[in-house]
């Protein structure tokens, strides 16, 4: 885009392709493109055009920006949710490492009692990061496990409790009800918890991410988003649509499978990458 010499239909069409291929979605991309045509009529240069729209996308994405912070209340309870395979368990491992690095006493709750080897997978992250873990056998009731973990985290003087949950499609009402029950049970031990509920989204997901965000935020007190797999070629442009509709900041991004591959979300870097 930078190499273009003037704003013409050709350039605007190329920009439309960039936006759509970044997963901003048809409607959002089209409306941006329509407004770009007004700039074309006014004789703007490509640089001016790009600056205006980057600024606009930036303001959408950085609204309400904050970092994930552990407040004074102990334990700080973080519930991690999302559809299947997005990277919840791995992200919990990365968060645990980050918090351990900050000198915090961390406990993990193996709340995925459904999927094969889910507990073993989280257990490995616990050993890698020096976090404690509360677990039961596969097939145990997730709410019961969470209740147990809440009590142990409180009684053991833990700073942070990270609760892993099974992946679930937002269209499965009974599974969403199961999560609501987990929240109710958590509140029996501490009515102010969970202090953070993080929805984990996969950067390769298309427009379905918007339905995921809608259903999860309607069902649970989601306080933040995490987008994983941004180390791939997908741009995660669905975040524009999601931020337009929901008032929930993106807190972290996953950029790999290793324990260090978690970064604070930077709205500027995100928007720049859309056009890279």
């Amino acid at each position: 885009v930078k190499a273009a010499s003037k704003v013409d239909d050709n350039l605007i069409e190329r920009i439309e392709e960039i936006l759509i291929r970044a997963d901003l979605g048809a409607e959002t991309s089209m409306s941006i493109v329509e407004r770009m045509k007004e700039f074309e009529a006014r004789g703007a240069t490509p640089d001016e055009l790009l600056e205006v729209f980057k600024k606009e996308l930036l303001s959408i994405v950085e609204r309400g920006q904050r970092t994930l912070t552990i407040g004074a209340h102990r334990p700080h309870v973080i519930l991690v949710v999302g559809v299947n395979g997005t990277g919840k368990t791995t992200t919990i491992g990365k968060l645990a490492a980050e918090m351990r690095e900050a000198g915090l006493k961390v406990m993990l709750a193996a709340g995925d009692t459904f999927r094969a080897a889910a507990i073993e997978q989280l257990d490995i992250w616990a050993s890698r990061t020096g976090a404690a873990i509360v677990k039961r056998d596969m097939g145990a009731d997730p709410s019961g496990l969470c209740y147990d973990a809440m009590e142990k985290a409180r009684d053991g003087g833990y700073d942070v409790l990270l609760i892993d949950t099974a992946g679930r499609l937002h269209t499965k009402t009974n599974l969403m009800e199961e999560l609501k029950k987990v929240v109710r049970v958590i509140r029996k031990v501490d009515p102010t918890a969970p202090h953070d509920t993080l929805l984990v989204l996969d950067a390769t997901t298309g427009q379905n991410a918007i339905s995921q965000a809608r259903v999860f935020t309607e069902a649970l007190p989601v306080t933040g988003l995490i987008m994983t797999k941004l180390d791939g070629t997908a741009k995660g442009g669905v975040l524009i649509g999601i931020r337009n509709l929901f008032d929930i900041p993106v807190l972290k991004i996953g950029v790999g499978e290793g324990v260090e591959d978690l970064r604070d979300f930077s709205a500027q870097e995100f928007v720049d990458a859309l056009f890279a």
Binding site: I20, G85, E120, T205, A234
Partner: protein
Amino acid sequence: SLSERLEGVFKNLRGQGRITEANVKDALRDVKMALLEADVNFRVVKDFVARVQEKALGREVLTSVSPGQLMVKIVYDELVEILGGDNAPFALQAGRTNVVLMLGLQGSGKTTFCGKLARRFAREGWHPLLVACDIHRPAAVHQLQVVGEMAGVPVYSEGTGRPAPDIARAGLEHARATGRNLVIVDTAGRLHIDEVRMDELQSIKAVTSPTFTFLVADAMTGQDAVTSASTFNDTVGIDGVCLTKMDGDARGGAALSIRAITGKPVKFIGTGEKLDDLVEFFPDRMASRILG
């Protein structure tokens, strides 16, 4: 839905207006929007709309009494043609050790699909062996062992201490030695842009010479589906696609994109987390779903 929208474009004309190239263009814009909203790749949509336009501007639509319905039919038929086409049902070869290699991006559903295929083909009289070649993800080998147990199928594994291609070769030898005629190789999820991981995959393929290589892709994948699928196909080579998590409400446009760009057919659909949640791919059902 697109059908409703297309009928709507022409509805106002019946009796008093003519079908013109201009309002066919409106209909085509609706087709473009619907496909993009369904996550079909931008370039694939462009080509698709051009083909539909050619058919629509032919005499038929311009003289039809029900142009909306005819447009819907043209779009639907075109989708079914691309998705289906020469697609034959998946078949294993009798009298040999079949090797099915599963590959794809992280979290797409490969390990689960290994179990699903194992269960299906065990029921059809084959003797599957699962081979655990994911030496990277924590507890991946354990996950496949549990899946194998659930499917009633043996699992060959050597933990995570040995290179994946060596485990693959040993697994194949083990299958031949123990009368297993279907080897299903689970591999680690990987990025198509990760050279080291792609080399590993090429080595696994080289030592196992698969009868069939499946790209396991998530039905909710967006525009990136084409980039990853074509890289996997160009670098390692795939024979077909398994589309997972179709029990959600993703429209699944990735299926059209992958098929259109790689030319490789979708063979199976994952419809849930249980090992029974596997169905054959039907182009007409997928076409209806993409149209919404």
